[in-house]
């Protein structure tokens, strides 16, 4: 009984782990792709932030080291930063005038 339980556990571990890891890597890839797309848009608007670039690089480094949890968190953060920079560039198209000396 005890034995079969540990066997079941072992099997569960063996079968459960690889799919869980694969899913994690796929999640990372999706998160990274989204961040990268937003970051490219910011570059196209000539309004890239140094922090977006650095956080994207950190995501990649974590993923290369197999730490997908951290990689995903960093990728999401990079995407948020890139989106904020896009928002900034878009709103500044008009808002810059409020700063002007007249």
């Amino acid at each position: 009984m005890k034995r079969s339980l540990s066997l079941a556990l072992l099997l569960a571990v063996i079968f459960a782990l690889p799919p869980a890891r694969a899913a994690t890597e796929a999640d990372y890839k999706a998160a990274y792709a989204a961040a990268e797309a937003a970051s490219k848009e910011a570059t196209g608007l000539r309004n890239q932030w140094t922090t977006t670039v650095a956080t994207l690089a950190a995501a990649k480094k974590a993923a290369d080291g197999g730490d997908f949890d951290r990689a995903i968190a960093a990728a999401k953060e990079a995407e948020a930063l890139a989106k904020a920079s896009i928002f900034q560039a878009t709103s500044e198209k008009e808002a810059w005038k409020t700063m002007e000396i007249r």
Binding site: T43, R46, N47, Q48, W49, T50, T51, V53, T55, K76, E77, A80, L81, K83, A84, S85, F87, Q88, A89, S91, E92, E94, A95, W96, K97, T98, M99, E100, I101, R102
Partner: protein, 287 residues
């Protein structure tokens, strides 16, 4: 943490935009009018700093702080840019492989002309800065271009500024829609917030001149290019206008543009034009 601050930042921006939209009245001021702009720009600084002599605005941070100015004037006996100046003078006189020199590329042999740069080139339809003109001169004579941010370029521009000291900035905006567009684009670049810190050039150099940021005293935007290029102790070397723009962008966590990109050329055009009438004081030295 950072993601949260980005989002917080986003909502702060949103609030700003709502405010901006509410206060935006569509005025006729949307027409490009450099003559009106220079008047407003200079008046702003003359009124904000009534005790600063007008020509002193060409001395960057020193115009804002008497102690600093005294220390600088003492240092001027053995200025740290002297080495670059000598190097620039020699480079200027040394012929290229084809026997020509820089003097062949410029009006008046390149002596005493700094105050006319940047200019709007009607053939190209774009702004041409002194740094750009120097590299184009090299390439036209079969020489490789120099880095825009230091060393040789700083030495050459230092020498050209030195031969122009005291001449009044004299930037022309021809009656050409492309020149007006370049001016307007430079103005927009100057006032546009960028980088994670959400600062524009004006946040520091219009709203806060004279204030300290880390150990440095912020220079006023008026006359801010008249002393270029500069020796900075923090760099332990000379830096060009391009180098200064790159550094200022990075400080706000904005990825800098390529030196001599259209935006940098245009913002140099704008800042130089609004400094018309102020003397060339370069090369400069900064603590």
């Amino acid at each position: 943490m950072k993601a949260r601050s980005a989002i917080l930042f986003g909502s702060a921006l949103a609030a700003l935009v709502v405010g901006a939209l509410a206060s935006t009245h569509v005025t006729a001021a949307d027409k490009v009018d450099p003559a009106a702009d220079i008047k407003a720009f200079q008046n702003f600084f003359f009124q904000k700093f009534p005790n600063v002599k007008h020509e002193d605005f060409a001395n960057g941070p020193y115009s804002m702080n008497e102690d600093m100015k005294r220390q600088w004037q003492e240092k001027e006996e053995f200025p740290p840019y002297e080495f670059a100046l000598d190097a620039g003078k020699e480079m200027f006189a040394t012929p290229f492989k084809n026997g020509k020199t820089y003097a062949d590329c410029f009006p008046d042999g390149g002596i005493g002309i700094r105050q006319n740069y940047p200019y709007f080139d009607e053939k190209e339809g774009k702004v041409v800065t002194l740094e750009l003109a120097l590299n184009r001169c090299r390439e036209a004579n079969g020489e490789a271009p120099y880095s825009y941010v230091k060393d040789e370029m700083a030495s050459l521009t230092a020498y050209m500024a030195y031969t122009s000291r005291g001449k009044l900035m004299d930037i022309k905006i021809p009656d050409d829609p492309r020149a007006l567009a370049a001016f307007e684009n430079g103005k927009r670049y100057f006032y546009t917030r960028r980088g994670q810190m959400n600062f524009s050039c004006a946040s520091c150099h219009v709203q806060s001149p004279g204030e300290r940021i880390r150990a440095e005293v912020l220079a006023p935007a008026l006359g801010i290019l008249n002393a270029m290029p500069i020796y900075r102790s923090e760099w332990s070397s000379m830096g060009t206008t391009s180098r200064r723009f790159v550094t200022c962008n990075s400080q706000t966590r904005a990825v800098p543009l390529e030196p001599q990109s259209d935006e940098y050329r245009d913002v140099e055009y704008f800042l130089s034009y609004v400094a018309n009438g102020l003397p060339i004081s370069g090369p400069g030295a900064r603590p």
